[in-house]
Symmetry: C2
Subunit: 260 residues, 2 copies
């Protein structure tokens, strides 16, 4: 499929980004790559995450995509380029950091992420570069990805773990919370039981859609496509298929198995 928007993530999480992109650009073609044979990325070292990310980007470039959205925060933290061989590469960190600054009134911002994302300090550095007068309170949430992969939003046990991770940030009187992992919107119900209405959630899918909209309007990206969506994964599981269909609200998703 030529002229598609490439999107990749370690697994299911990036589908929350894909869904938002499809909603915003329904006529575009998309190629989604879930690197399920090597997931999760968030507990791995920067070196290994970089190796996998570069392989995935090369693979998507071979699929003739017109741009690539790195829809995985852990992978985004190791990307320090905006294009490769002329293909624009979008990461989810920069737009998330900007959006959080736009939304926050008190400049007390919370950040949730995988151990890799938090340790990289990518969000913290980007936010502080734009505004030195911000207090950032972060928390690594290593168990959120497994719970999201299990589809356990609003399960009492998920609510408990959400409380443990997020209440210390609420106690710091944050007014904005960055969901710094594309899996976390899958646990939005449990997360909002802790944050309640007063804390704004910043979600990678929404922010990256805004950035692409800007690039379409400024001509950096050209419109094309006919609304086709291909889903590729590096491993097949029925469990992934079921959850992917639930996230994308479709009944019979065709998933192609690829080797990287």
């Amino acid at each position: 499929m030529k002229e598609a928007i490439g999107v990749f993530d370690s697994g299911l999480g990036g589908l929350t980004v894909l869904k938002e992109l499809i909603k915003n650009f329904p006529k575009e073609n998309f190629v989604y790559l879930g690197d399920t044979a090597r997931l999760p990325y968030g507990s791995k070292s920067p070196e290994v995450i970089r190796k996998y990310t570069e392989q995935n980007i090369q693979f998507l470039i071979q699929q003739n995509v017109k741009c690539i959205v790195v829809a995985c925060n852990s992978a985004s933290t190791v990307i320090d380029f905006n294009e490769l061989h002329g293909t624009p590469i979008y990461n989810v960190i920069t737009p998330g950091a900007k959006k959080a600054l736009d939304v926050s009134v008190t400049k007390r911002i919370g950040l949730l992420g995988t151990r890799a994302t938090i340790a990289s300090r990518a969000y913290q550095q980007r936010i502080l570069k734009m505004d030195m007068n911000v207090d950032i309170f972060d928390m690594a949430c290593p168990l959120f990805v497994p719970f999201a992969e299990e589809g356990m939003d609003l399960d009492p046990i998920t609510n408990l773990i959400a409380f443990r991770y997020i209440q210390p940030l609420v106690d710091q009187k944050i007014d904005t919370l960055i969901l710094g992992c594309t899996h976390y919107p899958l646990l939005r119900g449990s997360i909002q039981r802790v944050t309640q209405q007063s804390i704004a959630l910043v979600d990678s899918g929404e922010t990256i859609a805004l950035l692409l909209k800007e690039d379409f309007s400024q001509g950096r990206l050209k419109q094309s496509g006919s609304g086709l969506v291909r889903i590729l994964t590096t491993d097949f599981s029925q469990h992934f298929k079921n959850l992917a269909e639930k996230i994308l609200e479709t009944k019979s998703l065709e998933i192609e198995l690829v080797q990287i």
Copy 2:
């Protein structure tokens, strides 16, 4: 290191097996391989698990080991050979199945494992081949590995998830429970809060040590070594190092990074 016993697992879990082997054979040399760059295995497909397992076995054979213990239940389910190029290969399923049959009086046996291990029906088939008159009650526990990797034994949240997974088996009046994943002994405290004293736990480390003891006494394996232990991983994380030191009860573990 020539003439070592090779042990491999996707990550930390196999260290419970290694610990038991070191306890039983303190003079042997060991090479432990944790495939941390690709963990976990238990949520992946049999094809992908087989590919990774074969690569790990080949790698260990190149290290001149005298035998290989596949200390990962998910990997053991895809191994259908007992030796490769003259090197004995041990899996953890067969001895675990035998031990459970030995221990159980009521012939009502519970089985916990990853989604891959339960779906493979490897334990169920081996047990029923030895004794048709056994009732087996199984439960996939996909969240146990993440909790074990977080070192969260006896945490109230781990206790809750253990109750959810195990109580249905207790209700079936099992008298024996196979911990069909090498990570699960790391959650023994939380598991025993549900099983209490009346249910015997069968643990891969203990059963594989018995099998090796038999092969040493029958001459299938020759004694050698000087008590050296090498730990190799395919990715490095401080978190792994800390937990590995805790499991092996040692203070400064040297971990070598390898590529497979």
